[in-house]
């Protein structure tokens, strides 16, 4: 079965600009919060967002539906580019600020009839992350949002490397379980 997102990507491969505009309108509000959460600066986040969508336009042919949904594809790209940005900042010696959940500009009501359903899923999954034991949630957030490696996390938390690995594994098992149940 082809989803609307996959269809848009296929049209982008063919050079369809309108498909790209629709793809952007559909996915940018979903990936922008992640980028903003990682880079923590709205202007930087806007730059990264532009790069991510530019790459999606140029690399649309590289999308493989077998390996994930368009959402996961874009989130992976957004996360990777955003982490690249903060790692570059870190290399320049600027102080790394650990991620903190903060209020993001709320999105206008989503078009489409599945808004409520999506919001419900979102609520379930967000709740899942929030209900993880703090230790598991912390390592996942430091890895995923702050781009820290297992060694860096172990140093930061003053924990043995094996403990960090195990926490990540247990946290992701839980997260996978929640997603499996929600879909």
């Amino acid at each position: 079965m082809t989803t609307a997102g996959e269809d848009l990507i296929r049209r982008m491969v063919a050079g369809d600009r309108d498909a790209f505009s629709r793809f952007y309108d559909r996915y940018s509000p979903l990936v922008f919060p992640l980028i903003l959460k990682i880079v923590r600066d709205r202007a930087d986040a806007a730059d990264v967002l532009q790069d991510v969508f530019w790459e999606s336009w140029q690399g649309a042919a590289g999308y493989d539906a077998q390996r994930g949904t368009p959402e996961a594809w874009m989130i992976m790209r957004a996360r990777t580019r955003a982490i690249d940005r903060i790692r570059a900042v870190r290399r320049r010696g600027e102080t790394f600020v650990p991620p903190v959940d903060e209020g993001l500009a709320p999105a206008p009501p989503e078009p489409g009839g599945d808004a409520a359903e999506r919001a419900e899923d979102r609520g379930v999954i967000r709740t899942a992350l929030e209900t993880l034991p703090h230790a598991q949630r912390q390592v996942i957030e430091l890895a995923y949002y702050a781009g820290l490696t297992q060694t860096e996390i172990a140093e930061r938390l003053q924990q043995p490397l094996g403990t960090v690995k195990t926490r990540i594994r247990l946290g992701l098992e839980r997260l996978r379980e929640v997603v499996r149940r929600a879909t």
Partner: protein, 254 residues
Amino acid sequence: MNDHETYETLAAVYAVGALDGDDLARFEAHLAEGCDRCEAIVRESREALARMALAATPSVPPPDVRAALQARIDAAIRPSARASRRGWLTWAAATAAVVALAVMLASGIVASRYEAQLGQIARDTAKEREQLQRAEATLRTQLAALELLRDPETRVIELRSPSSNALARVIWNDKAGGHLLVANLPAAPEGKAYELWALGGPAPRPAGLFQVGSDGRAAQKVEAGGEPAKGFAVTLEPAQGVPVPTGPIVLASK
């Protein structure tokens, strides 16, 4: 923790992008060997993390990003599309022109070559046909002369030159006419021809104009003239011939 559980742990850390050092090398080697279980953990973990990220409240990015991207795509697509379209047209036109020229040249060359060949063949054929016709005429003349020689009435009259080794013979039959055969006679000058005269009547009777080939030879049929001929003579005359001899006698019978 058994051996594969260690990999499953690394798979989770890998999925969240935190694997580093020896662990990273070890796990990538394990993945490269083809472990469906670990691949599934990585894929499902990434999908779950994406869902987690997507679970954040959507936030509309600054509108200038959309505008900037569209401008960027326009800049990337349009000039290249236009250029490539123009390029394609130019290429197509150039190619078409080259092809057309090549076809024209090739067909022209082929046509002119064939025309030349056909023309040459036609000319050769015409020349050969002409030669053949001459040969046939000569053969008919010679056969007729031979046939004439069977006739007891037929005489061979020899004509000689007073000043050269030119020689002619007339195979003559008063009823059937005869044939003139010439050898060693120089070609007639421009505007001149040799004229044969039958002697024996009250005056020389014109018996035909002839030219001599580069080989000094000539062969010609001579029509019967009613009166028996006693001898023959050849004079050099104007090319259109004359009714009575005016030029010098070149050959004459005794």
